[in-house]
């Protein structure tokens, strides 16, 4: 594996770090400008992730600001001949990240200053205001972010169509990711890297968002894998030309986009100059504010060969908004045909009617999307319910993120700290779910939360907000409204009924089994994508 700035060796000294970064910068810009003379002007960066590059094509004149206090020096990469045009790249060498930055880039969450008092008075009321704001954004989204696919001409048969150059290199794939951090889309991105290598493709990975890329060390250590640090060194507007040059030089036959905006923006260049390249994208969740990546994907639909989606909601989304059906492929993010645990039957629910000790779990990143504040509010309401019914309640919150401190403080404030444990993200989720009766997922939005699927396999009953494709895995009676107060009330109501009414519990268990089986019958992402990868590798049937 090459280009591993994300995996800076421990104890690396400054000179080594600068030299390593420079060599990656020179490598990227040499790909972009293979024949020109490249003048690099280096600065000491103040940012740990972004190099703030600026490219000047043509003569460059130094101004006083160019030789400032951060000026490190220059380096020249000669052109193909002495008279080659000159391109100047001014670029900062990102500083080493601090230990706290390595752990968590997002600052701890705090309510906006205008609503701080409201939050102190009632976190639930604060959530309600935030929910209303979200719904306003949702209503405006259609007007502000139209769902119209960009037009694409196929060209005339009167003019020649570009043909792939002869290459002695094995076919390659470019996999574009949002970033290499924790997330559902990223999990699939890592899986596809593995599958592409298995299919015999050489793999190039790039991320669009500058970041520490903490999970870069999870990329397979494989000679056919290259992680390109475009996120760190290349402005988005230069991606299209870079991708074209990379594709020509490395015999790229397939591009797979996982929430990678500059790769979408590179598609016109690819379609015009490299029409033989097949393009796939994978999408997960429709965002309220602007439709998120499914909308972007739909807008670029005429430039994309296959839309891989993880839920039926997204199948319908593409049909209803972008009129496409045939090239949308549903592939679940599951490992096997009978579920991740390879089961064919489900265990009985851990919850029994009238049980005297209930354990409630939450598993997820502590970001607003998962509404951790509402998780605590629901636990508070459940604790009150448990007190009234002589039930001993305990909770486990598994996850990390900017809301961690706020969740801890709320648990203290509500007197739940002794009953609700905060566990790190790498805790054994399967074991926790096996010992839990209820899984709470009061998310603001979801694609299809796989943790619900896993919960069902462990006998833990999920209760979720009715968002995204959650109705595919959670029965109607266990779906609660999105509005925060109704959500908390709905959770308590559902738990009460499950605990009190054996017939209801039995019906829900049957409904969960039906949902689980239906999802298990659908093709997996691997089953959908692997044939495409194998085709690109020249191993198709």
């Amino acid at each position: 594996m090459t280009s591993t700035t994300a995996l800076a060796p421990a104890g690396e000294d400054t000179a080594e770090q600068i030299e390593r970064e420079i060599s990656e910068i020179v490598s990227i810009y040499s790909r972009l400008y293979p024949t020109q003379q490249l003048n690099f002007v280096f600065y000491a960066g103040k940012d740990p992730v972004w190099s703030a590059p600026s490219v000047i094509e043509g003569p460059f004149t130094f101004q006083p600001g160019h030789v400032n206090a951060d000026f490190l020096g220059q380096r020249v990469r000669p052109g193909i001949h002495p008279g080659a045009p000159v391109v100047t790249v001014t670029v900062s060498i990102p500083r080493k990240p601090l230990p706290n930055e390595l752990k968590q880039m997002d600052a701890p969450w705090a309510p906006t200053s205008r609503l701080r008092r409201l939050y102190r008075l009632s976190p639930l009321l604060y959530e309600s205001v935030r929910y209303q704001a979200e719904m306003v954004r949702k209503r405006r989204a259609d007007r502000l972010h139209p769902k119209v696919s960009l037009m694409r001409g196929d060209g005339s048969p009167l003019l020649p169509v570009p043909q792939p150059p002869a290459s002695d290199k094995r076919p390659a794939i470019l996999i574009g990711m949002h970033w290499l951090e924790v997330g559902g889309a990223e999990k699939l991105g890592f899986d596809t890297v593995q599958w592409a290598l298995e299919a015999g493709l050489r793999v190039f990975v790039a991320a669009s968002v500058p970041s520490i890329q903490r999970l870069a060390d999870r990329l397979p250590d494989h000679p056919d894998l290259t992680f390109l640090r475009l996120d760190r060194y290349l402005p988005h507007h230069l991606w299209p030309r870079y991708v074209e040059n990379l594709a020509r030089a490395e015999n790229i036959r397939l591009i797979h986009i996982h929430h990678c905006r500059p790769l979408y923006e590179s598609l016109p260049q690819i379609r015009a100059n490299l029409p033989w390249i097949k393009v796939i994208d994978s999408t997960h969740i429709v965002e309220y504010s602007d439709g998120g990546f499914p909308r972007s994907s739909g807008v670029w639909s005429n430039f994309i060969d296959i839309h891989h989606v993880i839920s039926r909601e997204l199948v319908d989304y593409y049909r209803d908004n972008f009129h496409v059906i045939g090239k949308v492929r549903l592939g679940r993010m599951l490992n096997g045909e009978a579920g991740d645990a390879g089961r064919t039957v489900l265990p009985e629910p851990n919850l029994r009617p009238g049980k005297t000790h209930l354990q409630v779990a939450f598993v997820g990143r502590l970001y607003y999307q998962k509404r951790p504040v509402l998780v605590v509010e629901a636990l508070r309401a459940l604790a009150a319910w448990a007190g009234r019914n002589g039930v001993e309640l305990s909770g486990k919150i598994v996850g990390e993120g900017p809301f961690l401190d706020a969740v801890r403080a709320l648990l203290q404030r509500y007197g739940l700290a002794d009953r609700v444990a905060l566990l790190p993200a790498n805790s054994p989720v399967s074991e926790i779910l096996e010992r839990s009766d209820i899984l709470l997922l009061p998310s603001n939005n979801e694609g299809l939360a796989l943790v619900c699927y896993e919960a069902v396999e462990r006998g833990c009953i999920p209760i979720s907000t009715d968002v995204g494709s959650q109705d595919e895995i959670v029965p109607q009676d266990l779906l609660v409204p999105l509005e925060p107060r109704a959500c908390v009330k709905g959770i308590v109501g559902a738990v009460d009924r499950l605990w009190r009414d054996p017939a209801f519990l039995s019906r829900q268990a049957e409904a969960l089994a039906r949902c689980w089986s239906a999802i298990a019958r659908d093709p997996t992402a691997r089953q959908v994508l692997m044939p495409v990868y194998r085709d690109a590798a020249g191993l198709g049937d």
Partner: protein
């Protein structure tokens, strides 16, 4: 040979899934198959969506535009043409969900429109097929209207008649005409939307009637559009037709045009012995049409 000939078929449908499937079968058999087949579903309540979805899974050219509510044929053609335009097509073959084109129908239309341009330098604003009823006779309701010099390019060795009005049953519209004249008027809901649109397109240059391109229109009966035929069952459609044409007449020739139209309609109803109760409703629709001023949306 034309430089750019991406063709999109636009089919508007409502609760006629069996007939729609026959249309899709007929499109499958075309010698010049459209690059895109856009099915505009006017919120059908039958199995239209599932049948189209099943086909579209294997046929990438099929696209499905499901409208949230029934906005009439006019609305459907408006939305369909707009969507097809955005797909970058150069020709739009527009038709109903109960019209089955003969295998060479679309190819003949494309050949006619490009042949006419090559031979005569003028570019027709549309080309329409000969629409036949299921028994092979001319379909009365889909008879195009010729212009005064209609035989100008109709020569002993062949050629095409010039027309300025045709129905949305197997009509081929070039992209430039949509760019120049905009979209059909969605607010018409039903009836006269095709006549208004083709007359609007004809401002640039008339269309051509291509009898070599044939299509079978599978309607329950073969009746023309004449106000002597108004009855209880068809009254609602005639009211839309009267309102829409009156609106168009006002736009084109003012009050005098509307009065002349009203007189003509009155005479037809009188000759057909249409009951006075219905006559009044039609005349009121014409009066409404005088005040009805829908906008024209450009692309």
């Amino acid at each position: 040979m034309v430089a750019l000939n991406k063709t999109a078929a636009v089919i508007v449908t409502f609760n006629r899934s069996a007939k729609l499937m026959k249309v899709l079968d007929a499109l499958d058999r075309q010698t010049l198959r459209p690059d895109v087949i856009l099915v505009v579903d006017n919120a059908s309540t039958d199995d239209t969506r599932s049948l189209v979805e099943a086909r579209a899974r294997d046929d990438l050219s099929i696209r499905y535009l499901g409208l949230p509510r029934n906005i009439g044929g006019a609305g459907g053609f408006h939305q369909g043409l707009k969507a097809a335009y955005r797909l970058g097509a150069h020709y739009f073959w527009v038709s109903d969900d109960d019209a089955y084109p003969e295998p060479d129908a679309i190819e003949k239309l494309v050949q006619a429109i490009s042949g006419f341009e090559a031979q005569n330098e003028w570019r027709p604003s549309f080309a329409c097929s000969r629409v036949e009823w299921i028994d092979g006779t001319l379909c009365e309701m889909n008879t195009p209207r010729p212009v005064w010099d209609w035989p100008r390019f109709l020569l002993p060795e062949g050629g095409w008649a010039l027309v300025d009005s045709a129905s949305f049953v197997s009509i081929l519209i070039p992209r430039w005409a949509v760019e120049q004249h905009g979209l059909p008027i969605a607010d018409y809901f039903i009836w006269f939307d095709d006549a208004e649109y083709t007359r609007r397109l004809s401002r640039s240059y008339p269309g051509i009637f291509c009898p070599e391109s044939r299509v079978i229109h599978d309607t329950p009966d073969n009746r023309g559009v004449n106000f002597s035929l108004v009855d209880e069952k068809s009254l609602w459609k005639f009211k839309y037709g009267a309102r829409n044409e009156a609106s168009w007449r006002r736009r084109e020739s003012g009050l005098v045009g509307v009065l002349a139209y009203a007189y003509g309609v009155h005479r037809q109803m009188r000759d057909g012995h249409v009951p006075w109760k219905m006559r009044w409703q039609i005349l009121r629709a014409i009066a409404r049409g005088y005040a009805f001023r829908p906008g024209i949306e450009s692309v």
